[in-house]
Symmetry: C2
Subunit: 245 residues, 2 copies
């Protein structure tokens, strides 16, 4: 059974509230870095995996994409996306990532923002992506950093007696697979993969690494959200751009 945490209503309401905040980790850390790696999408065909509320798909349309498909497992998300963005060349489909089907070599850009850590079989996903991409097409995705997903106990930050952060706990690095964590609700499921698994899986499927970003908060971001300063001490996200060769 594929996890569909975004259709848990408690989770979804809290998630929407988080994303509605102007100064959150996505807006200050993940998004700006993600966009620095975005290729020109003018007249291109885009598939956005885990499209959520459709913001990225809509930006691709604004930038002149020929056609954009956003897929997400969550009916909540797809309903939101459809209500927010309407364009004949922008389609949203409620489908688990694992089950999307598109013609071979039909897509110029496959994007995915903070969704791939929900996927158990990373290799199978990348195989499908590689088949779907045109030659020279781009895969651009962000994912929870392996440093963050590693520990089975999800210990996270260790605190001293004054509740100051001492360091971040890494453990179980080579035990890839399911991790359960409490994020708004108990037992959200995600999957840990090592850095080498992530990189080598792309390469083995004909996707050449072009750049990796471990987002680092800017001084401006730290002014707006001081607690984001701790992102200098350990990376939360990994953003990867790769090219089908």
């Amino acid at each position: 059974m594929k996890q569909n945490i975004y259709d848990n209503n408690d989770f979804f309401e809290q998630y929407k509230a988080l994303r509605a905040q102007e100064h959150n980790y996505n807006n200050l850390l993940e998004k700006p870095n993600f966009f620095t790696l975005m290729p020109d999408v003018k007249d291109k065909v885009v598939l956005d995996i885990g499209c959520g509320m459709g913001d990225f798909a809509a930006i691709c349309m604004e930038r002149g994409a020929k056609h954009v498909t956003g897929i997400d497992i969550s009916t909540n998300m797809i309903a939101m996306a459809r209500s927010l963005y309407t364009d004949a060349n922008l389609n949203f489909k409620q489908v688990p990532f694992e089950d999307f089907t598109v013609p071979a070599a039909s897509i110029d850009l496959i994007s995915s923002s903070l969704a791939f850590h929900y996927i158990a079989d990373f290799s199978q996903l990348i195989e499908k992506i590689s088949l779907a991409l045109r030659m020279d097409g781009i895969l651009l995705f962000s994912i929870q950093h392996p440093i963050v997903t590693a520990s089975k106990a999800q210990t996270g930050w260790c605190l001293d007696e004054h509740k100051n952060l001492v360091h971040y706990a890494v453990d179980d690095y080579h035990s890839e697979g399911l991790r359960k964590l409490d994020w708004f609700v108990e037992g959200v499921e995600m999957y840990h993969h090592t850095l080498s698994t992530l990189v080598n899986t792309l390469i083995e499927h004909g996707l050449q690494i072009e750049k990796i970003i471990e987002p680092k908060p800017t001084e401006e971001a730290i002014k707006q959200l001081p607690k984001i300063q701790k992102e200098l001490r350990r990376p939360s996200f990994l953003i990867v751009r790769a090219r089908k060769v």
Copy 2:
């Protein structure tokens, strides 16, 4: 002043004793993985950076290399290497990594085992390596893993009251640069670089990533050296193979 810790006699004697043990981290973890990424060197020209006692250079000769140069900053190491291995096509030179000079596009394989973390300017080193490699030449190197080099305090493993390992401490990840640690003697200097810096520096200098290994101990290795089991919990090394394109 370039650090030359291997010419500190206290350090060197202890280092030799460690490497003389049959079951050490190098023999059980780093070396076997390093060799899985080694290209065919028959009739090839090889440069080994940080050649130490010359073992890898000698193996390249055994495998039919046309010419091998080993360089190391340490006169102790170079003296050992010259006494152990003599072959007209095998040269050892005492020179800091930063100062090696070879004709452009003259080398087929540049190798380096656990030495690059001693180098302050990684980008300058990779620029020189890229110039030295022939088109399609290979850079194969191992380095301390960024998870291990990150913390300025070099806290390492956190222990419980029974001295059991609890987790590994990561901190200061985005503060790249000098780290001092006590390894045989006080204040051994090494340099921390993030994973993304390591990978992107290669790519920016025309070296395409072919594979990354974060070595994982085998069951056999754990039988021979039980304490190596903790390497399942956090990676010590990163091994990278890249091709000049």
